[in-house]
Every structure is written in structure tokens, then in C-alpha cells.
């Protein structure tokens, strides 16, 4: 940008980014308010405020405090995690179609968790979140290995997307073999696979919180190095970067973020894919801004999708994973149709 004659001054860019940041925070606040008040039983904003500040045990208070608040907090956390994870994956693989869901990380976590439920009798989220993380780690490393090696050429977006499809298909087959043997696990698995943030207690929120926070910190630490890396590995090495270290921190962050959100909410595709594309025009390619913006937009997107799923088919609900797929796939297809598959 700076090489063009009419580029705005660095000061102007920073000013604009701060404004965008404020706008996104306001958007998130609005989404949170919608998520707390809307649903099969709408609660007026005043009652909701009352329930949060001075609960007195009314029906509205119970709905808000035991159902809506944990659900909303989980939505914000998972949205932050998936948005940042998507931006990180796209940055590291330099691939515009990278997404934890499409690239098999989600199915990796799913397989490990189902295996732990059936083979080891794990029953609480805390017991199987570790397995989810381990599965996500193995799948991330596999996808990153397929996505980043190969020297100058590297794999095209098509190849990477297909690699993700292959890894997902393999893990999915193994998972379904396991659940076909065990009806109880099948019952857990089918709800999990649809992807939802409903009916998770606040204990689940507390259990995944440390993992997501750790992942977010690692992601932010990774941002400057990722900027250097996007100039190419040779340039980054010349600038004194430790490439292996940067990659390792990136994989760790993606694993923590997607593994934890997947363990808590199930398969939520497309957040990580869409969000960075929405954010890039606002943030530019600087990952120090791209990552936090992606997190905020991810949280807004997830909450809005969840609220939509609650209100489109009353009194029933559409799982947020389904709504996200219905929003995300047209976006993905438009992205693919717009031009030839590009490299970032």
C-alpha cells in the first residue's frame, strides 16, 4: 500500500482501524443483546438486565441465567476461536480456502472424542476435551504438512481442499464405524456432528475457557512473525525469523482454538473460512489487526447465526452449524466463482 503515491499516511490507517475496532465491538454488544433476549421465549431487554444484575428467581431470570447466558458466552468464545483459527490457517497455508472445518481438523477432534467415549468411557467434557485436542493436533499437523511443504510451488487451493476432504472422509469413516457399534455414542455423536451451542451448561464454558484464552494469546504472539512469513520463507529467514518456531506456535494456536471449540460445540464449519475474507478489506493484510478483527467478526457471525436458527422455525430450533453451512456455502461458492483459485 505504501508504495502507491496516494496511500494514506500510517497515522490515518491506524485511526481508521481503531474506528473499525470500535464498530466491531459495538456490533458484538448488539449481537450479545439479541442472543440474550431472542428465542422461543422472547425476554424484554429490561427484564434481561434485571436478571443479570439483581436476579429474584422469576421465570425470566432462570431462562436468562441458566440458558441464555452460558449459550451466549459459549457462542462468543467459539466465534472468537474459530475466526482467529481460520485467519491463522489461511495465513500459514497462504491459502484462501483454509478452514478448520473444511480441512479436517474438526473431524480429527471428533474421532478422538468418540473413541474416548466408547473405548475409555470418558463422559464429561473435561475428560474428552483432551482427546479432542489431541485429535485436532494430529489433523492440523497432517493438513499443515500437506498444505505448506512442496517448496516454491506449494499445493494449490484445490489440492489443499481435497486433502482436507480426504482426511475428513477417513476420520469420518472411522468415527462412524465406532458409533455404529454403540447406540449411546451414536446419540451423542449425531447432535455433536450437527454443531450447536445450545444446552451447554456454564461448567462447559469454564472448562473450555482456559484452552481458548491460551490459543488466543498464542495467536497474537504469532502475528508479527506471520507478517514476516507472508513475504516468503526466504525473506523471513533473512529477517532473522525462526521459521520452525513460527510454524509450531501457529499449529499450537490452531489446535487449541479449534480443538476446544469443537469439543464444546461440535462441528461448526465455514466460520473460519468466511471471516478472514470479510475482515481483510477492513484490516489489510497485517495479522496484528487481521487476527483480532477476525475473532470479533467470528463471534458476531456465530451469535447472529445462532439467533437466526432460533427464530426461523419456532417453536423448534435449527442448529447453528446448519445455519452457518447455509450462510457459508454460498459465500464459498461465490468466492470460487469470482476468479481462478488464488494464492494468498
Amino acid at each position: 500500500m505504501r508504495s502507491t503515491a496516494v496511500a494514506p499516511s500510517p497515522h490515518g490507517i491506524r485511526h481508521r482501524r481503531l474506528l473499525v475496532l470500535l464498530g466491531l465491538l459495538a456490533g458484538l454488544l448488539l449481537a450479545v443483546a439479541l442472543s440474550i433476549t431472542l428465542g422461543s421465549k422472547p425476554v424484554p431487554l429490561a427484564d434481561a438486565w434485571h436478571a443479570l444484575t439483581a436476579p429474584s428467581g422469576t421465570e425470566h431470570d432462570i431462562i436468562i441465567r441458566s440458558l441464555r447466558v452460558p449459550r451466549t458466552v459459549l457462542g462468543v468464545l467459539a466465534g472468537l476461536a474459530l475466526g482467529v483459527a481460520g485467519a491463522l490457517m489461511q495465513g500459514h497455508t497462504r491459502n484462501p480456502l483454509a478452514d478448520p472445518g473444511l480441512l479436517g481438523v474438526t473431524q480429527g477432534a471428533a474421532f478422538a472424542m468418540v473413541a474416548s467415549i466408547i473405548l475409555l468411557g470418558a463422559s464429561s467434557v473435561l475428560a474428552y476435551i483432551w482427546f479432542g485436542l489431541a485429535g485436532a493436533l494430529v489433523a492440523s499437523v497432517a493438513v499443515f504438512a500437506l498444505g505448506m511443504t512442496g517448496g516454491r510451488g506449494g499445493p494449490t487451493p484445490v489440492t489443499l481442499a481435497l486433502a482436507g476432504t480426504a482426511v475428513s472422509a477417513l476420520l469420518y469413516a472411522l468415527t462412524s464405524a465406532l458409533v455404529l457399534l454403540d447406540e449411546q455414542a451414536m446419540d451423542v455423536f449425531r447432535f455433536w456432528q450437527a454443531g450447536s451451542i445450545a444446552a451447554r451448561g456454564s461448567d462447559v464454558v469454564w472448562q473450555v475457557l482456559p484452552f481458548i484464552l491460551a490459543g488466543l494469546v498464542l495467536a497474537l504472539v504469532n502475528a508479527p512473525a506471520l507478517n514476516a512469513l507472508s513475504l516468503g520463507e526466504d525473506v523471513a529467514r533473512g529477517l532473522g525469523q525462526n521459521i520452525a518456531m513460527t510454524r509450531a506456535v501457529g499449529v499450537a494456536a490452531v489446535t487449541l482454538l479449534s480443538g476446544a471449540s469443537v469439543a464444546a460445540c461440535g462441528a461448526l464449519a465455514f466460520v473460519g473460512l468466511i471471516v478472514p475474507h470479510l475482515v481483510r478489506p477492513l484490516s489489510g493484510t497485517d495479522h496484528r489487526w487481521l487476527l483480532p478483527f477476525s475473532g470479533l467478526v467470528g463471534a458476531v457471525l456465530l451469535l447472529v447465526a445462532d439467533v437466526l436458527g432460533r427464530v426461523v422455525a419456532p417453536p423448534g430450533e435449527l442448529e447453528v452449524g446448519v445455519v452457518l453451512a447455509l450462510i457459508g456455502a454460498p459465500f464459498f461458492i461465490a468466492l470460487v466463482r469470482r476468479r481462478k483459485p488464488v494464492r494468498l
Partner: protein
């Protein structure tokens, strides 16, 4: 490599000796596997017993062989051949060894409508309500396959067809189908879910003659037609401009061939559910065995039949519980796809 030219009236084909060899070898291996399939199972039969059971209706094993094992084995072989043929056509047109009907939304579209049917009718599949399972499931599957294929094809069309765009649009549409499928599974009763899950993994359990007939019919009609189209398929790999100069109507012949591929995959899915990776792997294996530039259609079909029959033999006999054949093909096929991608990097 030497080729022999076969001429009938105005039409001519080039026969590669290696391709013929692969096809003949595949058919022989298929015969062997099917014979094994006849023998193995809960009741083990010797070869003379199988032969006796086949021709003697009064024999004790007649029912087992003629009503259980033979239709199942035939369904497997025919479905495998149809899927592989479909994959070979799509890979030739997309000019991409990684394309297949499951990526193009055909098999997943079929799954979605079948699951919807199972869930909507309550406790349905598995024989409870006869009409739905004998007529409804295949019809829904066919319809879903056609819709899925049309959707991907229509969305990927933009002033002509680009192989890569086709694959990527297919991945996007497939992702939606997968999510809708799982949402439908959460709506239903857990017992129905179990049955639907077996179906959407691709299974040959309890397949009878009514499952053999539609695939046999589709292959009988479409195999000769696609072989007639081989000439334009061969030309299509040179890129649109060259092909037009060679006098092939690119978009028309491409559309007809894709239609044939979609029909083959949809009919196969109607009979056995979406059996994963056969359509993808079989043409690539046939191509390597026959050492040809493009997936050879007949050899691919033979390899597909062998793969599916072999996988069903494993699924039926190797585990304490009978697994859906699609799980075995996925566990074998996905690493093969990853291997192809790994090689394609270089």
C-alpha cells in the same frame, strides 16, 4: 505402445492391448472374489455345495446362495462398476485425477433426501413399511443425486466449465449437504438414526434382486453409450479451443457425458448407498495398470467391481460385527487419495 483399431461401420475405437489385459484380468479376479463371497459367511459352503445350491432348488443352501449371497455379490460388483465408470468419466472431463461423483454432490445429494425420507416416515427403512423401502428409497436417492449433480454443475457453470471450479463448488455444496444430513439425523429417533447411518455409510447388507436390477439396467444402457462417447472424451483433455478446432461440440458432449456419469452414480447410490472412494480410486488404479493417458472406461469398471467386492468380503467376514462396506472402502481409499495429492505436489 501398439494399438489395434476396431472398426464397426463408421465408428472406430483404438484398443490398447494393456487395457484389454487389465479388463480381462479384472473380470477373472472378480469371478474369483465372487466365488469366495458365495462360500464365506455364517454358513460356510464348499465349492461343490455352492454349485449344487445354485442349480438345485431342493438343496438346503439354495436359499442362502440364490436369495442372500448371490444378489448381494452382484449388487456389489455392479455398483462398483457403475461408480468407477462414473468416476472415470468425471475425471476425464474435469481433467483432474482427484474429481469424483462424491465430490460433485451426487452421492451426498442422494444421502440427504434418503435421510429426509427415513426421518419423515418415522420408523421406516429396513423393511418396516414395504413401499417406502422398496420404491421410495431408490427413487429419493435417484432424485437427490440428480439434484445434487445439477446444483454443482449449474453453480460451477460460468461461460463454460472449468475443471477446478467444478471440484471446488462440489466441495462447498457437499459441505452443506453434510450439515443438513446431520441436522436431519438429530430430528429423528435414535433407532432410525442408526439405520439411516448404515445406509449413508454405504452398505450391501440384505441386498436382494430388486437392488440388482436397476444397476444392471443402467449399466446395460449407459455403458455402450459412454463407450460411444469415448472419442469426444479423448479429445476433451486438450482444452476447449483445440477440441472445438477438432470438430467436437465441447459443451454438448461434455454435458451429455456428465449426465451419464451422474445417472450411473445416482443409480448405484440408490442400490447400495454412497460407497466412498470407489469412483475416485478405481479409475486411477486402472489408469496406472493400463498405462494410458486417461482413465480407461472398461478397465475402470472392472477395477471398481473388484474393489467393491473385495471390500465387501472384508466388511462381511473380517470383523465380529458386519460393517457397512463404505467404511472399508473409505478407510482404504482415503489414504490412497492423500497419497495421490502428495504425489501431485511434485
Amino acid at each position: 505402445m501398439t494399438t489395434i483399431t476396431l472398426r464397426i461401420a463408421a465408428l472406430s475405437w483404438r484398443l490398447r492391448p494393456r487395457g484389454v489385459l487389465v479388463t480381462v484380468g479384472g473380470v477373472l479376479l472378480l469371478g474369483l472374489l465372487m466365488a469366495l463371497n458365495m462360500r464365506l459367511g455364517d454358513i460356510r459352503l464348499s465349492v461343490p455345495e455352492v454349485i449344487a445350491a445354485t442349480f438345485d432348488p431342493s438343496s438346503a443352501a439354495h436359499f442362502v446362495v440364490m436369495e442372500l449371497r448371490l444378489p448381494r455379490a452382484l449388487t456389489g460388483a455392479l455398483v462398483g462398476a457403475a461408480l468407477a465408470l462414473s468416476g472415470a468419466i468425471i475425471q476425464s472431463i474435469a481433467r483432474n485425477p482427484l474429481a469424483s461423483p462424491e465430490i460433485l454432490g451426487v452421492t451426498n445429494g442422494a444421502s440427504v433426501l434418503v435421510v429426509a425420507g427415513v426421518v419423515a416416515s418415522g420408523s421406516a427403512y429396513g423393511g418396516a413399511s414395504g413401499l417406502l423401502s422398496t420404491l421410495g428409497i431408490p427413487a429419493l436417492s435417484l432424485l437427490g443425486g440428480l439434484i445434487g449433480g445439477a446444483l454443482v454443475y449449474g453453480l460451477a457453470w460460468r461461460r463454460g466449465l472449468d475443471g477446478y471450479r467444478l471440484v471446488l463448488v462440489g466441495i462447498g455444496v457437499t459441505a452443506v449437504f453434510t450439515n443438513v444430513k446431520f441436522w436431519l439425523l438429530t430430528v429423528g429417533d435414535v433407532n432410525d438414526t442408526g439405520r439411516a447411518m448404515v445406509w449413508i455409510s454405504g452398505s450391501l447388507n440384505g441386498r436382494g434382486w430388486e437392488h440388482v436390477q436397476p444397476v444392471a439396467l443402467a449399466l446395460a444402457v449407459l455403458l455402450p453409450l459412454t463407450l460411444l462417447g469415448t472419442r469426444s472424451l479423448d479429445a476433451l483433455r486438450y482444452g476447449d479451443d483445440t477440441v472445438t478446432a477438432l470438430g467436437v461440440r465441447t459443451n454438448l458432449s461434455r454435458t451429455l457425458m456428465i449426465l451419464a456419469a451422474v445417472l450411473l452414480a445416482a443409480v448405484a447410490t440408490a442400490s447400495a448407498g454412497p460407497i466412498a472412494f470407489v469412483a475416485l480410486a478405481a479409475p486411477q488404479i486402472a489408469l496406472r495398470l493400463a498405462r494410458s493417458g486417461q482413465p480407461p472406461l472398461l478397465s475402470s469398471a472392472a477395477v471398481g467391481a473388484v474393489l467393491t467386492t473385495g471390500a465387501d468380503l472384508i466388511a462381511r467376514t473380517a470383523f465380529p460385527l458386519e460393517l457397512p462396506v463404505g467404511i472399508v472402502t473409505a478407510v482404504l481409499g482415503a489414504p490412497y487419495l492423500i497419497h495421490l495429492i502428495w504425489r501431485a505436489r511434485k
